[in-house]
């Protein structure tokens, strides 16, 4: 399997994540979509690192995963706070910025 297959996989995962971000009505679903998109980027990084023989990409991916964990924790905390205040986690109902 060449580099192209990994890149295709990453693109597919990215599109699935992006689709989830725009179509899910549940805020937690949106967060999951974002995680998918980030992971597709990780796949890209690892694939390029593997095929070019440079470990920089792999090291970078470890950092990305760490930060993603923090981001997920932060995102979930926001969602829980939102639920406490607004009694809902449906994105369509969270339209305080409506003009």
């Amino acid at each position: 399997m060449g580099l192209q297959a990994y890149l295709t996989l990453a693109a597919v995962v990215f599109c699935i994540g992006f689709f989830g971000v725009i179509t899910r009505r549940n805020t937690i679903g949106i967060l999951l979509g974002i995680e998918l998109m980030l992971n597709s980027v990780n796949i890209n990084l690892v694939a390029f690192a593997r095929f070019s023989g440079d470990v920089t990409g792999m090291v970078f991916t470890v950092f990305t995963i760490c930060i993603t964990v923090a981001e997920a924790a932060l995102g979930l905390a926001i969602v829980i706070l939102l639920f406490r205040v607004r009694r809902t986690v449906t994105a369509d109902h969270l339209d305080l910025l409506k003009g």
């Binding site: 725009i22 369509d92 003009g99």
Partner: protein, 619 residues
């Protein structure tokens, strides 16, 4: 010989002290009479100082007492202080004398006034006397202009002293604005003159002129602008309309401000800058013609008035025209001489008229009549004033008037001379018309039991009457050598001048006697014979109408046009733009849904556009 300016300065500062104390110490001011006595005390001290200053500066002694005021780049732009010489100290004495007498007189005249209002009156009076003295003694144009405005302000405050009377309030505003129109000219003139000469100082400028160092180009414009200030202040045609209306103020105010001192400030200004005007004979010619015309116009108006104070007001305008004509003829000293004697007897006439008004409670001549038996003292002093004004020998106004006529003749101004002779006749006529209507003849049906005024009012009247007569007799004995200026007579009057002037005056008196005393000539017939002129005089020669027309059509019309442009064009454009902004903002608002995912669409769309742009536009 140098004099000592301290006495002149003391005279000035005593009035300032009186004003400051009355203005700041409100409890004293509200007490009324104690405030008045304090002010009178200061005025008396000021009079003594002024007399001493005059005595020190007789002849050609001159002293300057100045302090630096406006420093500018290593030199002094303007100073304040006093410039005491023969002219200014004699004028100072006149101001101090009339101010002091008027303050004493006011004590009786305004005895019915509530105490706080009386205190306010005396505060204004002191401020006026201070400002007028500051004007008289001004060593430079800046101080002169400041004091010039201050006396205008005092005039406004005192005309409107009974501010609850609508006519008084209107008259005050009218006087303020019309004189202000002239003052603008004065200010422009002063600044232009500064640009030309580099100094505001009168003495320095005089040196420049004497050395011929002052550039003559454009000087006519400058002197004309300065003359404009004098036109406003000294009520020359066409800005004379404010003075008759100013009679709404208390009569002592009219005597001090609108007869003896403030209105003569214009004449005094031209006298002080006589050497400057001498360089511009064309402007002097205008001064002379306007003066003579004003004199005739006002004298004819005075004949048609029924209000005793208005007759005197027009008479003042007319006499100011006399002085101006003399200055225009190039003999300012003659005009100044008349200014001094006029100050005495016109103050006397106004105060006498005040006594009459006080007694009969009205200004109208038909309400008076037969007062000679009821008010013998007032009648005597009023007659002295009238004879002085008419120019009868031995009385104050005789020599000064003849001096002016001689000066105008010597100046070669035949036209103004003829006008002034007619004015001499008219002056005698209208003054004796007042005398015969008010003091002789039959009393009116409604009798108010008039009586001579109390001591505080009678004393100033007698002093002024004695001075009017004394000045006349002094000069008749000592010869017409002026106590100031060049000792030599600058001109010789022709021999026929004195009989002619006296003849005109006696003719006027005779006509008045025949018309109003003997009734040999019916007043109504006389009036109808002069039909159109009388009609015009009753309408004040349409001068007020003209000003109202200019104001109503010109100024108000222009303002309305500007208002319309502002309201509909400027505001209209702004309103359209703002309304458009509001509606478009309202429409665009709906773009903001508040849903996070819609923004993600936006981000994706933007990213796609960016990518396409990078791919095709920048490739």
């Amino acid at each position: 010989m140098t004099g000592d300016g301290t006495f002149a300065l003391a005279a000035l500062l005593l009035h300032a002290l009186a004003f400051l104390v009355l203005a700041v110490v409100a409890p004293l001011r509200r007490l009324g009479r104690p405030a008045a006595w304090f002010s009178i005390l200061c005025a008396a001290g000021s009079l003594v100082s002024a007399l001493l200053a005059w005595q020190r500066h007789a002849g050609d002694a001159m002293s300057r007492l100045v302090w630096e005021w406006l420093p500018a780049q290593g030199q002094t732009l303007a100073t304040v202080g006093v410039l005491a010489d023969a002219e200014s100290t004699i004028m100072l004495t006149l101001v101090a004398l009339v101010a002091c007498l008027v303050q004493v007189y006011s004590l009786g005249y305004l005895s019915d006034e509530p105490a706080p209002s009386l205190g306010r009156y005396y505060a204004y009076q002191s401020l006026f006397a201070f400002s007028m003295m500051g004007l008289v003694l001004a060593p430079n144009f800046v101080q002169l202009f400041i004091c010039w405005e201050l006396v205008g302000l005092c005039s406004y405050l005192l005309i409107g002293f009974w501010y609850y009377k609508p006519e008084a309030a209107r008259a005050a505003v009218k006087a303020f604005w019309i004189t202000k129109a002239g003052d603008v000219g004065l200010l422009i003139g002063i600044v232009l003159l500064w640009r030309q000469s580099g100094t505001f100082d009168l003495t320095e400028m005089r040196v420049l002129v004497d050395n011929g160092a002052l550039p003559l180009a454009g000087l006519s414009l400058i002197t004309f602008c300065i003359y404009l200030g004098a036109v406003g202040k000294s009520a020359q045609f066409p800005l004379h309309v404010w003075l008759p209306d100013a009679m709404e103020g208390p009569t002592p105010v009219s005597a001090l401000i609108h007869a003896a001192t403030m209105v003569t400030a214009g004449v005094y200004l031209l006298l002080r800058t006589e050497w400057l005007f001498a360089l511009t004979p064309d402007v002097l010619l205008i001064v002379a013609w306007v003066g003579a015309f004003t004199a005739l116009l006002a004298a004819s108006l005075a004949c048609a008035q029924d209000d005793i104070k208005r007759v005197l007001a027009y008479s003042t305008v007319s006499q100011l025209g006399y002085m101006m004509t003399a200055i225009g003829a190039g003999f300012a000293a003659a005009g100044f001489f008349h200014l001094l004697t006029h100050g005495l007897f016109k103050a006397l006439l106004f105060l006498g008229a005040g006594a009459v008004i006080h007694a009969v409670h009205g200004n109208d001549l038909p309400q008076m009549g037969g007062l000679a038996r009821r008010m013998p003292q007032t009648t005597v002093v009023f007659l002295v004033g009238t004879l002085s004004l008419a120019g009868i020998p031995l009385f104050g106004g005789f020599l000064s008037k003849e001096e002016i006529l001689g000066a105008v003749w010597a100046g070669g101004l035949t036209g103004p001379f003829v006008l002034l002779m007619m004015v001499a006749f008219l002056t005698a006529f209208y003054m004796f018309r007042v005398v015969f209507l008010a003091f002789f003849g039959t009393p009116p049906a409604r009798d108010t039991h008039p009586h001579d005024p109390p001591m505080t009012m009678a004393l100033p009247l007698w002093i002024l009457a004695a001075l009017s007569l004394g000045v006349g007799i002094y000069f008749a004995v000592a010869g017409p050598a002026l106590p100031f200026g060049p000792a030599e007579h600058e001109f010789t009057s022709p021999d026929w001048l004195m009989p002619a002037a006296v003849g005109a005056a006696v003719g006027g008196i005779l006509l008045a006697w025949l018309t109003y005393q003997r009734r040999a000539i019916d007043a109504a017939t006389l009036a109808s014979a002069l039909g159109p002129i009388r009609h015009a005089a009753l309408r004040r020669f349409w001068m007020d109408d003209l000003f109202e027309g200019v104001y109503g059509l010109g100024l108000l019309g222009f303002s309305r046009l500007i208002g319309w442009i502002d309201r509909y064009l400027v505001d209209g454009v702004l309103n359209v733009v703002s309304a458009w902004t509001v509606t478009s903002g309202d429409d665009l608002r709906t773009m903001q849904t508040g849903r996070a995912q819609d923004y993600v669409y936006g981000v994706a769309l933007g990213l796609m556009i960016l990518l396409l742009w990078v791919r095709w536009a920048l490739a």
